[in-house]
């Protein structure tokens, strides 16, 4: 019966919503502060952020002159 399969689907949705409504949440201010903290802590290790000199970055083209 299509009626009962609709009911089964709706029950699943309701169960899922109940589960999601009950999870523990943290305040946005706290979560945002943590994200910011992570960024600042790792900023120095981020080559795209700090920029890497041509000698260490393998992708930056090196102009090499050599005398033969």
């Amino acid at each position: 019966m299509s009626g009962s399969s609709n009911i089964v689907a709706m029950k699943k949705i309701v169960q899922q919503l109940r589960f999601e409504a009950n999870i523990n949440r943290v305040k946005v201010s706290q979560a945002a502060a943590d994200l910011q903290q992570f960024c600042i802590q790792n900023a120095l290790q981020d080559p795209l952020l700090t920029g890497v000199s041509s000698s260490t970055n393998p992708f930056r083209t090196q102009k090499v002159c050599s005398f033969l």
Binding site: G3, I23, A32, D34
Partner: protein, 408 residues
């Protein structure tokens, strides 16, 4: 058990007992001339049959009002969920980030252009050695490049076109790819250039619609896939068995990303139903879901700490969702950007978000402040895929203009 459920159970039992007894009555030769039971075929329209029919129809009519009550319950739960989330929304991310320094001007240029695909590049992935890239395209070719030298190391021709997903194994010894063939195939890479890679192919995943994304878990032994059939699945590479399946999306699932290893067994997926869901890989349950985008979600990527993820969508915005606050915390959009974002990735520290868009550009966003830092031009058609290298020194973008570009 709840009273509603109890009522349902009693009604269902009534229906079952009623139906089976009528069925057996009708099957008895002395009581009824029809040979088949009521449940299997329409029978003569005699008064007794009509009586019995009416009784059963009445019984069957009961479950439909339970459907209505379930619907109202789901609506109230949804509003309750929104209220719970709103309670904790005390400040915006960019307000918290006001005190930190703004980023300076960025100069990022194309350092390498990888040419060789005959058609649109659809997907790319970096190897853990930070140097090799695998890319797949619409013409069915999967190519492994050495990004430093731009040489092609391996090339495989898939039996299907539109290879929409490709992934490098953590060991660097195999690649997985798939697309319109509804399968995910794993090709072990051999050092012998003359060996035919297609001969060693192993079909791992089987879906009922196109494969949109695939990703190895922390080992070469398991693969996570997402498909146009609306499901994601976890497979064992060796045996090809499905270890877990994830149902919950109402439409095609377009993208997925695994949580960074320290934070555990979860992954996030995004789909055409505008929803992004976070799943527990062990139980198959959706633990959180977010529905704030206004169109299909093309790409999802975890923040490096694992506590948040970003998504890029056809509604021309990228959004950041925090998992612990269980809500969207930032939107990256501009009025001048009207084309959808096809692909997003974070820099190593999570401060920069790179977005490849369908207007041929790449926008670089300051994640904390919510502002655009830079816009990169270079591709001659829409940017379809974008990944930052594992050590963060560069990022690679693939486009419908048949090329890949490495920016640093």
């Amino acid at each position: 058990m709840e009273p509603q459920l109890q009522g349902q159970v009693i009604r269902q039992l009534f229906f079952l007992i009623g139906a089976t007894s009528v069925n057996s009555i009708l099957l008895r030769k002395d009581l009824c001339s029809c040979r088949k039971g009521m449940l299997s075929s329409p029978h003569q329209n005699t008064p007794r049959h009509r009586e019995i029919l009416c009784f059963l129809v009445e019984m069957a009519a009961q479950p439909s009002d339970t459907l209505a009550t379930l619907k109202t319950e789901s609506e109230t739960l949804k509003t309750k969920l929104e209220e719970e989330r709103a309670k904790l929304h005390d400040v915006e991310l960019h307000q918290v980030a006001e005190k930190i320094e703004a980023l300076g001007q960025f100069v990022m240029k194309t350092r390498r252009a990888l040419k060789g695909h005959g058609n649109k590049v659809l997907c790319l992935d970096w190897c853990k050695d930070k140097r090799r890239i695998v890319s797949s395209s619409q013409d069915g070719k999967v190519i492994v490049w050495d990004a430093f030298t731009t040489n092609k190391e391996h090339a495989v021709t898939m039996p299907c076109t539109w290879v929409m997903a490709c992934a490098y194994a953590p060991s660097g010894c195999a690649v997985a790819c798939g697309g319109l063939d509804n399968k995910c195939s794993v090709y072990p890479l051999s050092l012998d250039k003359n060996e035919n890679l297609a001969a060693k192919k192993k079909s791992v995943a089987m879906h009922t619609n196109y494969l949109s994304a695939c990703c190895f878990t922390n080992s070469d032994m398991q693969i996570l896939t997402s498909s146009g059939d609306g499901t994601c699945a976890l497979w064992d590479v060796e045996s090809g068995q499905m270890l877990q399946s994830f149902h919950g999306h109402a439409a095609d699932v377009l993208c997925l990303d695994l949580a960074p290893s320290e934070t555990g067994n979860t992954f996030v997926s995004g789909g055409c139903d505008k929803k992004s869901c976070v799943w527990d890989m062990r139980t198959g349950q959706c633990v959180q879901s977010f529905e704030t985008h206004e169109s299909d979600i093309n790409s999802v990527r975890y923040y490096p700490s694992g506590d948040a993820f970003a998504s890029g969508s056809d509604d021309a915005t990228c959004r950041l969702y925090d998992l612990r606050a269980d809500r969207e915390v930032a939107i990256y959009s501009k009025e001048s950007i009207i084309f959808g974002a096809s692909s997003v990735d974070f820099s190593l520290s999570g401060r920069l978000l790179f977005g490849g868009y369908n207007d041929y550009t790449i926008n670089v966003w300051d994640v904390l402040k919510g502002t655009r830092v830079s816009i990169l031009f270079g591709h001659e058609n829409r940017v379809s895929t974008l990944r930052v290298s594992p050590d963060g020194t560069a990022f690679c973008s693939g486009s419908w203009d048949h090329t890949l570009r490495i920016w640093a």
